[in-house]
Symmetry: C3
């Protein structure tokens, strides 16, 4: 499409060659003369100047005379929107593949697509324009909203509810049993998991991510929540709106996460912990059982502590060899000045590692 | 069902209104007049007194005159059993769906259910009343016991053996190749993984969990073992009876876990480590290669050490700023008292983090 | 097969009973008179001498008069090769199962196998002798090389490209959307992920592992790369040839890994970090965003540092109680020698853990 058309569609102004044809998009370093790229921060201006991109989306303050530029307040967001034009989604399919197996009392909205080998149990309701791809399995009494996209091989256990516009990636499993057992007579008996899972609107769930059903009640995921791949959400967690959780993070049972919290990858959160709104959990950190992370706080490490404390502690730890040297020196001076006075030192710890 | 009937079925006594009708179960805070709830420890008595639950299961020592109460020695276990009555499982299906693909010499026990699009290879034996749901894939020479439940989209590779009453959640993969390679001529060649995987009775395997086959011999999982979601069990591990492993934990190759060990979430265990009976591994801890965790020990941290040591070390680390202040003071006093004596300090470490 | 035949096939010499019949292989401790085993290092000589194995593959320096031994320079590699003879792979199937659903313009090479309930979208090219097992889902415009093995229930999203001889284990997902969002107006909008995933030749991908497509461009995996189970590779990562990554490790976006790097299990790597060639990342370590791990370095811990520093720091940390005792003693001596001079100590930190 031409630069002029794209700018129009973005409600933006442009400078330079409005008739230039764009056929794709790329990063600054790789873009060619038919590619769109973008520059969102002064730290990339140098790279942008050197870029061979046919057109850049940038803020007003990026000066580049002679270049073809589309101006936007949020260059990254406008670029994201432009991608939908440059890479149009394949036309959504509709209809039910003859190989799909549908139970009794299944209600399908308009233009729903059900792919090959999808199995839908009884009493299921699926909203308009939702697409369910090959090999997915939908349990009984499941409710799915409108315009959802279930990639191949998604599993929804019985009674799971999904809002509108969800994107569920391949291999994710929603509604499997929570991990609850009662030890009786020397063996673990299953604590029946009779609750369910509910997702709000505009939720995205990554590939092979697992969200367990509640023991009693609901494991709930708010509106606009984005979960990356291989995440584990334990039974009875409640995640509020607009929370993001990066890959391989795990939440134990009954964790509460308030809105706009940002949770890094490989984070572990203990039972009943609470993450208040807009808190940020650094990648790999560990939150102890029942711990509260305060609103807006950024924490790191295990057990997690405020970022400032964490960095200080790292710095102190790095200074340990120096502290030991100082101690030794002080001891020697003391001995010299104290003369015959004797210094009793504890024996070195046998557990010292390789020292 | 009525309170009187439920108490009878639990072999328990009740106080209060035996005719009260119960229609569900809920946590103390959320239970209404037709809900059963339970109170298992004095720490929840306050909550229990305020609860609107129609009936509580509790121990004898919880006094609540006027309330309808079912008495049980282990209130949680009795409540778990009651859930099976209040939420009866859907009647188990039986029969083979016409779309299932069965190989040669497949033996099915009585009342086995094989769902749509299940694929079963040759020489497979499946015990009575076992149910295999949609899209699961069963390799050749697999043996599955009685009354097992395979949720949708489970994969069993060739020759895997499963005992009775297993519950395998959606997406789990049993018997994939162990991770073994030989570096020859600058490239990794596959070390063929010709062993297999055997599960005892009453094992539960979480969603998307992976148990690799042995290189030679068997990766074995004992009776009553419970694995949470997204767990990785490497080749040649041997897990004894009644071990529980929480989500996202990984065991490298040839790890031995003795009976009743309890392993938290996101734990990492190195090759050939041994976890003795009833040891407890705190969430997120790391066990080094060939390390032995002694029977009954609780360990934490990386590298894992006894909980007491771990907490002490955390406390010491938290006291580091104070130690540095003391050192500085001592140095100053020393200098003052020593007068002209000169103190040589090592230069600060350039690697100090942000300090 | 007989020892003589096996030695011939391995191009190796043997000593002892060339007519001995071998029917299997086992570890030294478990091998019986009809089993092959191997001994690759002097540290296992004792075990090898005590082994009941019918034949051992060993290097020349292992002396064991009277034993039947096949000599090899790399005993482990030769043993691995022997396993292919002792445990011949089931004859590869070929042909397209009648239940498979193939789109338009799908090109299949010679002797391709497509199993039951496999779904292949339009414009897909599959090389000769590649086998795709039950329930796998192949997106449009996918290209798969020759002699690949896709285990049951693999998902390839649109446009993914796979080289020759790949082994993709059950449940792995290649080409799901990278985790990219733009916060606009208080909600996360999807940053379209219009790139793809390319794998070189001889790649193995573990069960339930996820490799995300690039936002723009390509997430690329080099020749001979081996990924274990439950690994996460974020969008735009570039992994060079002959890299191995153990289970449950996660790479954020745009990580670069150079050839022959060895990455342990449960490692976390931040955005845009670079792991240079032959670097070794210890299990569980954490690499910060944009960090560079130098060629050949072995690092450990979080944040990761050279192994030597890590061990030193652990040793220093273990010595902390002793340092505190020394400090206390010095203080007392100082006070005694300084007489009335007063020592002001900071108050103990209230945050001290359980101390």
């Amino acid at each position: 499409m031409r630069v002029r058309e794209l700018a129009d569609w973005l409600n933006a102004t442009f400078e330079g060659d409005g008739e230039r044809e764009l056929r794709g998009a790329a990063e600054l370093e790789k873009a060619g003369s038919e590619d769109l790229s973008f520059v969102s921060s002064p730290k990339y201006w140098k790279l942008a100047e050197a870029s061979a991109a046919g057109c850049l989306i940038s803020t007003q303050d990026f000066l580049s005379p002679g270049r073809t530029v589309i101006r936007a307040n949020d260059a990254r967001a406008s670029f994201a929107r432009a991608l939908y034009r440059l890479y149009p989604m394949p036309k959504a399919q509709a209809g039910v593949h003859p190989s799909a197996v549908l139970g009794e009392n299944v209600t399908l909205g308009d233009e729903v697509y059900v792919g090959p080998y999808v199995v839908i149990a009884d009493h299921v309701r699926i909203g308009a324009r939702t697409r369910i791809y090959a090999g997915s399995s939908i349990g009984s009494h499941v409710v799915i909203g409108e315009e959802c996209l279930l990639h191949p091989r998604v599993t929804l256990y019985d009674s799971v509810e999904i809002g509108d516009r969800a994107i569920l990636h391949s291999g994710c499993v929603l509604g499997a049993d929570g991990f609850g057992f009662v030890m009786t007579g020397g063996r673990y008996e299953k604590f029946p998991q009779v609750g369910t899972v509910k997702l709000g609107n505009d939720v995205e769930v990554g590939a092979n991510t697992c969200i367990d059903r509640a023991a009693l009640g609901v494991t709930s995921i708010g509106n606009g929540v984005k979960l990356d791949n291989l995440v584990h959400i334990g039974h009875n967690c409640r995640i509020a709106d607009h929370v993001v959780i990066a890959a391989q993070t795990g939440l134990s049972g009954a964790v509460l996460v308030d809105e706009y919290a940002v949770i890094g990858g490989q984070v572990g959160i203990g039972d009943k912990a609470r993450i208040e709104s807009r808190a940020v959990l650094g990648s790999g950190c560990g939150i102890l059982t029942s711990k509260i992370v305060r609103s807006g706080q950024t924490v790191w490490g295990t057990p997690a502590r405020p970022l400032k404390d964490y960095l200080e502690q790292l710095a102190h730890a790095a200074r340990l060899p120096q502290m030991q040297a100082e101690l030794r020196q002080l001891r020697e001076m003391q001995q010299r000045s104290a003369g015959q006075q004797e210094l009793q030192l504890p024996a070195p710890d046998e557990a010292d590692l390789k020292s």
